[in-house]
């Protein structure tokens, strides 16, 4: 009886937040999904009672195939690279800084504040500073000349070079190969562990389906778009990534610093008795022990990499396609081109893209709890 009463109190207390999030997050998402399935914005979209027709998934198929939306496809690729590099950059640099500060060097609090301070700044104006720093004929490029070295010639955000290029036509193929590979390893693991035969059979069937579809796509299926269209990692976005890592590695440093100091001294002493060096201690013992911290840093930095909009906006402007991100394109499509439906479609696809990374995390969290 007592327990049930507790449940009711819990639910009542949590209810307001649930309703608020229900409206402001899920209600708005539904609204966006609905708009994305219409043609709102063609012609006179800003009328008092605009004529809005339901068009199904036409906007989405346009985004993936039409020549005009080439920029959208590059932006999605950019989004993945941004996430990947900002995340790994801030984690690695943050850990490195934490190791430097871990043993209380002299001036520790000064350095700590210094590394944290970028986190405190708004990009409205520091974006401008970074823009100057990456200006090809000023900033970093001329820095070596102050000590009589040759200047750097990299174009930074004006660069139009991209690496790791792949053909957009091959996307279905790449996805199939990727899934097949994952399934293959899962099956391998199940065979080695010799358990759960039903799972094994299910996975094997899936694997065979994907494997066959791989060949069908390779030889028979028509390409997604007519032209060969290359996409890859734009070197122009390196500047944005550096600025973002500069801003957020202070935060990961604080997290790791807390973690390192929370490790029991016995761990270190045990490592010393085994004859491990400092380096070995940090790499082999500290990192695995700090896994929970890494996990929460990943989720927070991922959350932040969605806010990259402001940074790109201030540093490179909205029309620099090399550094663009779907959120920038979405803003332009909605508010400059008045194309509300396409803007909403881009938003939905961006949400799906980020779900690809967050949902596994959420499932992991959930499993941990229910264990």
């Amino acid at each position: 009886m007592k327990i049930k009463k507790d449940y009711i109190i819990s639910i009542v207390v949590i209810l307001p937040s649930v309703i608020l999030l229900g409206i402001f997050v899920y209600g708005f998402i539904l609204n966006t999904v609905f708009v994305s399935l219409t043609d709102w914005g063609k012609g006179a979209g800003l009328k008092i009672n605009p004529v809005i027709n339901f068009v199904g998934f036409a906007n989405y198929s346009d985004l993936f195939t039409s020549i005009i939306w080439q920029r959208f496809r590059q932006d999605m690729v950019n989004a993945v690279f941004y996430w990947l590099f900002i995340l790994s950059g801030s984690l690695i640099l943050g850990f490195f800084l934490a190791v430097l500060l871990d043993r209380y060097p002299r001036g520790e609090s000064f350095f700590r504040t210094l590394f944290l301070y970028p986190f405190a700044l708004s990009f409205i104006v520091t974006g401008t500073i970074w823009r100057w720093l990456f200006a090809p004929n000023g900033g970093f490029n001329v820095l070596p000349t102050l000590i009589k070295l040759p200047r750097i010639e990299f174009l930074w955000m004006s660069s139009r070079t991209s690496i790791l290029n792949f053909n957009w036509q091959d996307i279905p193929l790449i996805i199939t190969v990727f899934i097949s590979l994952i399934l293959f390893f899962v099956i391998l693991r199940l065979i080695i562990l010799k358990k759960n035969e039903i799972k094994l059979i299910i996975y094997s069937i899936l694997f065979i389906i994907f494997f066959i579809s791989f060949f069908i796509e390779l030889f028979f299926a028509p390409p997604m778009i007519n032209l060969k269209e290359m996409h890859g990692f734009n070197l122009a976005s390196i500047g944005i990534i550096i600025a973002a890592v500069w801003q957020y590695s202070g935060y990961t440093m604080a997290l790791y610093l807390a973690g390192l100091r929370g490790l029991p001294v016995s761990l270190y002493e045990a490592a010393k008795i085994d004859g491990a060096s400092d380096m070995k201690f940090y790499l082999k013992i500290a990192i695995p022990n700090l896994w929970p911290i890494t996990l929460s840093a990943i989720i927070i930095i991922s959350h932040i990499s969605l806010k990259i909009f402001a940074l790109i906006f201030a540093m490179a402007g909205t029309d620099n396609a090399g550094t663009s991100h779907p959120s920038v394109l979405m803003y332009l499509t909605t508010f400059r081109a008045n194309n509300f439906a396409f803007g909403a479609s881009i938003a939905v696809l961006l949400l799906i893209l980020s779900s690809l990374f967050t949902i596994p995390y959420l499932i992991y969290l959930y499993k941990q709890r229910t264990k």
Binding site: V13, P16, I19, L20, I23, G43, A44, G45, L46, K47, I48, N49, P50, I67, I68, Q70, R71, I124, R131, F134, A135, P136, N137, L155, W156, M157, S158, R160, A236, F313, A316, G317, T318, D319, N320, A321, G322, Y331, L332, T333, T334, F335, R336, A337, N338, N339
Partner: protein, 437 residues
């Protein structure tokens, strides 16, 4: 204590929900009419609040302030709210304006580029009042140039009052530097290519260029130069095919012009591109005449002496204009005050107070030239005598959808440098935005 805490928590939430509930009930009703509607002139003495919405801040602030203080001196009973939104070269201002209009919170008058940027968005949405009665009562039909009025209106009416005129197709240079390098100011495109070769040999950037929108800005000058004024006008009326040989030639020439620009352009603001010319790193820069304001006010250079100007190469005798204007949105709450505001925007007194500070010229034929600097005097002369065409980048000839997509096409071109591909993409976006069949 515990109970107090809990009560506080719930009172907070419950009041929030009551607000939510109350708010939903009070939702905006269809107060704003549809269809075309003319402005109704009144003789009422204006009072109350007048909210002027613009993206003028920083250095352009004082110009707007001068208009507002003129207004206040005439109508002291009106409280003028100067609402400015800045950032992203006007994109933020547009975003806020659109959210506000969609949410039913209409500012009394807002800044908008005259021409299709207004017509394609707000007039098409039937959100503006036709100002023809105001034009007639103030006799503006005669004081504004005919070409200008044609571009401000549609067959259904005239939609805004232009408060200034900027020229877009101006080429800036430093006369002393040209003398030093032994270069003539190029009048035609071929002359430019010759001069550019000579400059390149001397290791000087022939043409300084900035970030993406300044590339579009350069494109319109080149397009005008290649096509000539008649075909340029036809292009925007949908009478000249985007995939025809003329336009392909524009892209070819443009590609060649780009080969004479600085490689780091995408990361420079327009001021920094102008700096290149001022510092002697580059010879020419094609930019709107706000560059004159930058050089004379911020860099303290003397117009006509320290720096000089000419029409963009191939653009002689044509004045490509853009104008900031104010309109009267439907559903605005203070008619008398708005009408007086628009009158001041179009008046000789208002324009001659505003424009010398803004670095632009008056849109009227009868402005007081003694109040302007040397550059503005020469621009006014050209404005009276030249053929007038509208700018693409600054919203005169194309709607916002086209302008936005054109930036994407430009990026495609910069990456591929393929004129045919660019021409085809232009055709596609012209169709998508209802500017070609």
């Amino acid at each position: 204590m515990i109970k107090k805490f809990l009560t506080l928590f719930f009172v907070l939430f419950i009041s929030l929900f009551l607000l939510l509930f109350y708010g939903c009930k009070k939702a905006e009703s269809g107060r704003i009419s549809q269809g075309i509607e003319k402005v109704k002139l009144t003789d009422e003495m204006p009072k109350g609040n007048l909210e002027i919405y613009s993206w003028w801040a920083g250095d352009e602030g004082p110009a707007l302030e001068s208009l507002i203080s003129l207004y206040k001196s005439k109508y002291p009973d009106v409280t003028v709210i100067n609402a400015t939104v800045t950032g992203g070269s006007g994109v933020n201002a547009k975003a806020v304006l659109k959210t506000r209009m969609l949410g039913g919170d209409v500012p009394d008058s807002f800044q908008v580029h005259a021409g299709q940027e207004l017509i394609g968005t707000w007039v098409a949405a039937e959100r503006m009042l036709d100002l023809t009665p105001l034009y007639q009562s103030e006799k503006w039909m005669d004081v504004f140039p005919k070409d200008l009025i044609k571009l401000l209106g549609t067959k259904d009416g005239i939609w805004s009052v232009p408060v200034n005129i900027h020229r877009s197709n101006v080429m800036w240079y430093i006369p002393d530097n040209l003398k030093k390098w032994n270069i003539e100011v190029p009048k035609t495109i071929d002359n430019f290519f010759k001069a550019a070769e000579a400059l390149k040999a001397k290791n000087i950037i022939p043409l300084a260029l900035g970030e993406n929108w300044t590339v579009n800005h350069l494109w319109e000058s080149v397009a005008l130069g290649v096509l000539g004024a008649d075909k340029y006008d036809k292009l925007w009326r949908g009478e000249l095919s985007w995939t025809g040989s003329d336009v392909v030639k524009v892209w070819e020439t443009f590609g060649k012009v780009l080969s004479y620009t600085n490689k780091d352009s995408a990361s420079l603001s327009w001021q920094q591109a102008t700096d290149l010319v001022v510092n002697g790193k580059a010879a020419f820069n094609i930019m709107g005449d706000w560059a004159s304001g930058y050089m004379s006010t911020t860099l303290k250079l003397k117009p006509g002496v320290d720096y000089n100007w000419a029409p963009s190469f191939g653009n002689s005798g044509v004045f490509m204009f853009l104008a900031d204007s104010f309109g009267y949105p439907k559903g605005a709450k203070n008619p008398a005050a708005i009408i007086e505001w628009l009158k001041i925007c179009g008046s000789k007194e208002g324009q001659d107070a505003f424009n010398p500070l803004k670095g632009s010229i008056s849109s009227r034929k009868d402005s007081e030239l003694s109040k302007y600097n040397d550059y503005a005097k020469s621009a006014s002369k050209d404005f009276q005598s030249n053929r007038i065409v509208g700018s693409l980048t600054h919203g005169v000839v194309a709607n916002e959808g086209f302008m936005n997509d054109f930036s994407t096409v430009m990026e495609l071109f910069l990456k591929s440098m393929d004129p045919i591909k660019a021409a085809n993409a232009c055709q596609a976006i012209a169709i998508q935005n209802g500017m070609a069949k």
